[in-house]
Structure formats: C-alpha cells, structure tokens
C-alpha cells in the first residue's frame, strides 16, 4: 500500500536546529472517532524525537550521547528539548571524539545500560569505525558469547542537500556487510517513530541510519504509536509487472517512479528494505517470483554496493524466475559534488528508475 498520500518531502530541508518545527501535539480527529484512530500531524524529525522520548521515559537504562545533542538541540534537531526534559546525565553532550564516545557507549552497554549514540553523519562515523567494527560488532563472538553490546548507534546518511563530499555519502552498505550488527534505515514516518524502540531492546548493536533529506518529511501518524518490527522488509505498493527494491532516501523516488509508470499501464511493486542487515530475502524473492523483473535503487556507489549484494542473492535464489536482467540504479561513482545540478545528476532520480523499469519490461515483453 502506498503511503505517499500522507507524505511530502520538503526539498529545501534545512540542517540547522533553529529551523526545526515544534512538535505538533494536536490530534486531528476523523469524522467517526470510533472507527478511525486519532492521528497527529508530524515530521520524520519529530517522529524520531518522540521515539526517543518514549524509550527514555520507559527505560531508565537508556541515555543519549553525541555531539551537540543537548544544549544545541541536536545537529538535525532530533533531540531538541530532550535535555530540558531528561537532564544532563541522560542527554550527554560529548567532545568531538567520535571514537571515544562511541566506545564509551560500548563500555556502558557491556555494563548493562542501553546507550543511544548519535554520530552526526555517516562520513564522521569513519572516525569511530574501529569501535563499531572491532568492538561493538566483534566482542560477543571474540569472547565466546560472554559479552553483549546492547546499544543503538544513530547517524545521518545520504545526499540531496548540497553538503558536498564529506557530509553526503551513503555508506550504510559498508556497515551492512559486518557480521554482529543489525542495520536499519527508516524511510517512513511510521518507521521513524517505531524502529528505535525495538532497536533499544535488541541485545546486539543496532546501527540506525536517518536519511538527511527525510527529516522534514511530513504527514500524519496515529497518536498511539504503531508497533513495528526491525526484522522485515515491507511492500509499500503492490504491483504485478516489476519489483522496485529501495530503502531510506530511495523509497520516495521509487514510489514516484511507480506513479510515472502507472500512467503507462506498468504496475510496479515497491519494496522498502527497512532492515539492511540481515536482509529479508523472503520478501524480496516472493515479490520477484510474482513480477519476474527487478530494479534495485541504491543511493550508494554501485561497486560493492548493497544493490550488488541483493542482485547476487536474487540470482542465487530466484534466477529462474527472472524474465529480464536485473537493473540497478545507483549513485554515480564520484564523491558527491556540491553544485545542485551535479548532485542531482550523481543521484538516482525517479525518471532513472522509470527508465530502468521500461528497459526491463521491454527486454522480454
């Protein structure tokens, strides 16, 4: 089912906290409240914030730390107001020491707390990669199962905001190749609101990617949060002719491409991966078995990408279901440039996805 009717993406999504809207608390009720649940108008950013408020209020072991999460209100304003509500011990501003505060999260998790560590962007997370890879993902196995690292590491990923090559990359596929961590990427308001809770409860480290272009995504959510899982992919739009596999920032583009194709009587099914590790092969293969054609949308570089991994799995598990070569629509193999037109050209766009779909459908019509 498409959720696009309730979403809009503000293209000029601002980075700074000062532009963040306040959480909207009014519930807009439908005509017959007995049948329709009360809803609230919100954004991806506010949904993430509400998710934090919920886990912080529910579990005293949870605390948030990272650069400018407190007084500044969060680099992307996700944590705005949490310092005032939960205090300095639980909303901890850190020095610019990605490795130390990520490792400190690991140590605190080993001791039984449930830290949420915010790293400003995935590019900066490379400064903490030693801790994420060599400790968080590894300690359980290397200790023969004695140690558990129940922490959540959140970071922003993705391009689309003219932030150039050191703030815009999509490296979540790298993380998705590491055994020992779960990697999740909310693309909808419901997931922005719902995925943090189960991530905090996971006994293993979870890396949660927030797409920078989605923070201002707005729409409505039920006042009472919907429980979501961090296990499965979701079919966001049903279709019969071709499967689009996308996640995070790519989902909206895939849905837009499906709209374009609908006008041409091509029915595209759109899968939102949601969980990048472990991949939900069953949902992917079931869809491919229905449609027999695939376009994979990935804002990361094509070489060695998650799109490459998914392609390989489809070939391994559903080769004889395919009626056309797998298509991949990925970022151009270039550091993300600053200029708007170049950045747009470097990224997958809805028209690129639609063109790939037309090739696939035409290839073996």
């Amino acid at each position: 089912m498409s959720r696009r009717s309730t979403m809009t993406v503000a293209k000029d999504a601002a980075v700074e906290a000062v532009t963040a809207p306040e959480v909207s608390r009014e519930a807009s009720r439908e005509a017959s409240p007995e049948e329709a649940p009360a809803t609230v108008t919100t954004t991806y950013r506010e949904a993430l914030r509400e998710a934090h408020r919920e886990v912080l209020a529910r579990d005293p072991r949870v605390f948030l730390m990272g650069e400018d999460v407190g007084r500044y209100g969060g680099s992307f304003a996700v944590s705005l107001g949490l310092l005032e509500e939960f205090g300095e011990e639980r909303i901890r501003d850190t020095p610019l020491s990605e490795s130390a505060f990520t490792g400190a999260g690991i140590g605190a998790a080993l001791r039984g707390l449930r830290p949420i560590v915010e790293i400003m962007t995935v590019n900066f997370s490379l400064l903490a990669l030693d801790q994420i890879m060599n400790n968080a993902a590894t300690l359980r196995h290397m200790s023969g199962g004695q140690l558990s690292v129940p922490m959540v590491i959140r970071m922003t990923t993705g391009a689309g905001r003219q932030l150039a090559a050191q703030h815009s990359h999509s490296l979540e596929g790298w993380y998705a190749s590491i055994p020992g961590i779960r990697v999740i990427a909310p693309a909808t308001l419901e997931d922005a609101r719902g995925m943090l809770g189960p991530a905090v409860e996971d006994p293993d480290p979870v890396v949660l990617f927030e797409h920078g272009s989605l923070y201002n995504l707005s729409g409505t959510l039920p006042v009472d949060p919907v429980r979501v899982d961090i296990e499965s992919a979701a079919v966001r739009r049903a279709g019969t002719d071709i499967t689009f596999i996308a996640y995070a920032g790519g989902l909206g583009k895939a849905l837009a491409a499906a709209d374009l194709l609908a006008a041409e009587s091509i029915s595209a099914e759109v899968i939102d991966l949601r969980v990048l590790r472990p991949l939900d092969d069953a949902t992917i293969m079931a869809s491919v078995t229905r449609t027999h054609r695939v376009v994979i949308v990935d804002e990361a570089w094509r070489t060695g990408s998650l799109a490459a991994e998914i392609s390989a799995r489809i070939v391994e598990q559903a080769f004889f279901e395919l009626d056309a070569p797998i298509e991949r629509v990925c970022a151009a193999e270039v550091p993300v440039p600053y200029a708007h037109h170049l950045e747009e050209a470097a990224l997958p766009q809805a028209e690129d996805i639609a063109a790939a779909a037309r090739r696939a459908v035409g290839a073996h019509g």
């Binding site: 605390f63 011990e89 850190t94 020095p95 020491s97 490795s99 130390a100 505060f101 990520t102 490792g103 400190a104 999260g105 690991i106 140590g107 605190a108 998790a109 080993l110 001791r111 039984g112 707390l113 830290p115 030693d130 801790q131 060599n134 400790n135 300690l139 359980r140 196995h141 290397m142 200790s143 023969g144 199962g145 004695q146 140690l147 558990s148 055994p179 020992g180 779960r182 006994p203 293993d204 590790r277 472990p278 991949l279 391994e316």
Partner: protein
Amino acid sequence: MTRELFLELFTGLLREMIRIRRFEEKCVELYSATKIRGFLHLCIGEEAVAVGVVGALSEDDAVVSTYREHGHALARGVPMPSIMAEMFGKATGCSGGRGGSMHLFDASRRFYGGNAIVAGGMPVAVGLALADHLSDDRAVTVCLFGDGAFAEGEFHESANLAALWNLPVLFCCENNRYAMGTALAREHASTDLAMRAAAYGMVAWTVDGMDVIAVREATDRALEYVRDSGKPCFLELRTYRFRAHSMYDPDRYRDKSEIATWKKSDPIPALEAKLVSDGLMTPAEVERWRAGVEAEVDAEIAAAVESADAAPLEPVEDLLRHVTTEAADGVALLAGGRST
C-alpha cells in the same frame, strides 16, 4: 605492619610473578611445539606490573587489557586451564577458542579482554566507568595499555573524556619503551608520559614498574584516590620486556647490552633480594621457598597443559554461533551454504 604480614605480602607477590613467568616460559615451548599458534606476546620482565596493578583490585573492579595480557588475566584470577585451553583453540578456553592468546575474556571476573587494536580498549574502559558513575557504583575500571597506545588518538580522546566527565578510570600505561620495534624517543616528541597525561587534568604519577612493591603501593593509593574522588588517575609504569615483541620478532632494534642492563632489574630476583635484605628470610630459606613454589606452579601448569590437550574442539557446526544472540539463524545459514 608486622613482620609476618610483610612476609605474607612479599611472598604472595613473588609467588604470582613466578607463576606468570613460568607459565609464559611454558608457552614458548608450546609455541615451538606448534600447540599454540597465531601471535603470542609475552610479558616476561613486566610481571611486576601485572601482579602489582591487577592483584590490587577488588572483585567489583573491571579490567580492560591489551594483546599482551596473559599476566593480567592470571593475576585477575582467570583460571589457568581456561587460558591454556584458549591458546590451544579449544572449546573449553576462556573465549571458547574464538579469541586465542590476544583475546582472553572472563566476564565473571570483569576481565574485558584482550584488545589487539592498540588503544582500542580505552574508549570501552571509559564507558564501563561511565556506567559505574551513572549507577553510583564505587567500582574502578583499570585500563592497561602501552607506550605505543599513548600515541593513538583514542588515548587522547579517552583521557580527555574521562577527565571531563569525572569517571573512575585508572589508566595504567605499561611503558616498556618500545611500540613493537619503535623506541619511545622515536615515537614521542616528549617522552615524559605522566606529565603529558597530567595535562588532561588528571592526577598522574611515574612508577618504577620493575619494583612490584612500588607498583602495588602506587596502585593502592591510586585506587583509593579514584574511589574517593570519582576522578580518573594515570600511572606510568616504567618497565621492560625481556623477550621480543612476539614470536615472529627477530628483535633487531634493541642492543643486547640494553636488554642485559634491564635484566639486572628483573623484578623476581629483586624481590628475593629484598626478602633477604629486610631480614625476612635467609638466602637458604629463599632457595627452599622458591623450589617449593616452582614445584607447585609447575604442577599447576602441567595440569593446565594436560587438560588443554585433552579438551574438545568446538564443533565446526557451531562456527556461526555468538555472532548475534540469534544463533539459530547462523547455523541454518551455514547448513544452507549461504551467508547472512
């Protein structure tokens, strides 16, 4: 302290140093016999640090160590058979055969490993201390590392964070003067490590790391300070490894004369001499006592080797266990020839 208490303390320290020394000498034999493989880093010459620091801790304290950690683990009370079995790669090893010499773990004794990324354990130590701080626990986290780690960014980030947040970490820099093969003066613009640590706003002392009594006294004082103040403290323990960096190291970067000079400060004969000079034992009593201790320790080592030899290997079907808590997935995927 009475004479008997001194005698008990000193012989206790000496016995543990001998235990670690002879254990590692056996490891050399077993490495040559290919029973132990991979990297093997020995602390022979540095036993005063292991015994002086780790032996001073209470049960509630935590230890984060390095890849040169056999002595730290033994001093922490990790059972010798489980350490030996780990080095043999057996299922009964303290890390289930998944860690080896560099990755000894014992969660029940709050021994958090064996980290082989130089300085990689330091942020984790800060986090353990943060959890204790948030829980109003009086435990201290002891973080052992070398002079090489002092050059890593992770040390500087961790030292700053521990001092900034007033966290109960005891940083113990086991300065053996070489980062693998690079001499202290060739890796640090300023070689006074305690002074540099003090610049982070931490109490920092330099200690003779070849004198186990000095190490124990400094550690006791540092632990008391950290427990009372809740703040971190830094000890630079000046020591020396008598053997090469690892079994692969041809040791081309040190003069034989330098090694010979440091061997004159060997912490084991030094403490034996002190027993005599303090009038606690006669030379003949030291000889007899030592022979008795060596016989006991050798029997313990022999039993550890025997049990490690006899111990089972982890079944290869369990290869993918302990990657995440959901072991069943891994086993199923392995059976299907697929990877997650």
